[in-house]
């Protein structure tokens, strides 16, 4: 007869005793062949950033078109404040210091938190943009954690932090456009 706790300890102990070795899926030559395929994380992140920018432009244009086509005083009344200006025109190209980046991120995060969690009616394109951006932010977060754990050079961390800020800014723009479109319905 075992209590639940005893069983849990037994299972935990057996888990720790399980062997770790498994036959590797392929040998060194196949590993090298696959390694030469260019699909790696960094290009994917760059592709993601380009995709996110394109989606932001698309959604913002859609929201603007909707607002111009059907002006409504209710939209103005319910529309949220514009997101904080994370970048000025020259900021996107010039490097920034870490405290500045963190302050800008905190501002954008606070603004995002102030928005309603999700509009009543959602557009597939907009949701896809939001999901993609959130996904990219999570990936950069993971990468940042890994780099910090491995004591990566500060310049590398700063570049990742800057990239994260750009993604957060894009997310704020998409969410703003989405909320405006929702309010104008």
């Amino acid at each position: 007869m075992h209590t639940d706790l005893e069983s849990q300890r037994t299972v935990a102990s057996l888990l720790r005793d399980l062997p770790e070795d498994a036959a590797p899926p392929y040998g060194w030559r196949e590993f090298q062949r696959r390694a030469r395929t260019p699909a790696r994380a960094s290009p994917r992140l760059l592709y993601g950033a380009a995709l996110a920018t394109a989606l932001v432009v698309l959604v913002a244009s859609g929201a603007l078109a909707i607002r111009l086509a059907a002006p409504d005083s209710r939209a103005v009344r319910l529309a949220p404040a514009a997101p904080p200006a994370v970048f000025s025109s020259q900021d996107r190209t010039s490097p920034r210091e870490l405290p500045q980046i963190r302050a800008a991120e905190a501002g954008a995060d606070r603004w995002l938190a102030s928005l309603p969690s999700e509009p009543l009616l959602v557009r597939v394109g907009t949701r896809a943009a939001v999901t993609t951006l959130e996904d990219r932010i999570a990936q950069v977060d993971d990468l940042l954690s890994a780099q910090r754990a491995d004591r990566a050079p500060p310049a590398h961390l700063l570049a990742l932090q800057q990239q994260r800020l750009q993604l957060v800014d894009s997310l704020a723009q998409v969410r703003y456009a989405e909320t405006l479109a929702d309010a104008s319905r």
Partner: protein
């Protein structure tokens, strides 16, 4: 039995690998790949996905080998990379959505899933089979907590979820593992009724 975190590599071999010596790299790959793939396969479950994560992990290992400070065995360092890659995979929104669907069909999980390791003792075989029936998230949580020694807060942070998510996943995983491992009539609750 070899644990990944205990596998070390001679400094001279590592130096040759860092200098681009193919033979040295192949030797390191041969030493680390089995345990690395075993760990990843156990956490990810699906073989095709595990192969992708394994490939990325090993590539990262060789790309950043020069940054390894030799404060612990090379296997322990690689283990951190592998775990980080597994979490990235499990946290991906598309996969999370798919895992939600899978957890709905959780109860009907097939019993005869492919085992991660082969040629193990019969008493461990049941547990290995039971592990294979868990969802990837539950399997990762129970493995991280019970074997890797992560706290609930650390697991929650890694998954970007709450501490109660980690606790409930662990409790459900244990319930399923016990149900498999121990007949119901042999169990007795902690609190006498």
């Amino acid at each position: 039995m070899t644990r990944l975190s205990e596998i070390g590599v001679a400094a001279e071999l590592r130096a040759r690998a860092c200098a681009g010596d193919e033979a040295a790299r192949a030797e390191i790959y041969a030493a680390l790949a089995p345990a690395t793939f075993g760990l990843i396969r156990r956490l990810i479950g699906r073989r095709a996905a595990a192969e992708d994560v394994f490939q990325e992990t090993m590539m990262t290992c060789f790309e950043r080998l020069a940054e390894f400070r030799a404060e612990a065995p090379l296997g322990a360092w690689l283990r951190q990379i592998a775990l980080s890659r597994c979490f990235m995979y499990l946290r991906h929104p598309w996969r999370r959505a798919r895992l939600c669907l899978e957890s709905a069909a959780d109860a009907a999980a097939p019993a005869g899933l492919a085992l991660v390791t082969t040629g193990i003792a019969p008493e461990a075989l049941d547990l290995e089979r039971a592990l294979a029936t868990l969802t990837p998230t539950a399997r990762a949580v129970v493995w991280m907590y019970e074997v890797e020694g992560y706290s609930h807060a650390e697991i929650a942070g890694a998954f970007g979820r709450s501490v109660s998510f980690s606790k409930s996943q662990l409790a459900r995983a244990h319930a399923r593992l016990r149900a498999w491992y121990e007949p119901e009539e042999a169990r007795q609750p902690c609190t006498p009724i």
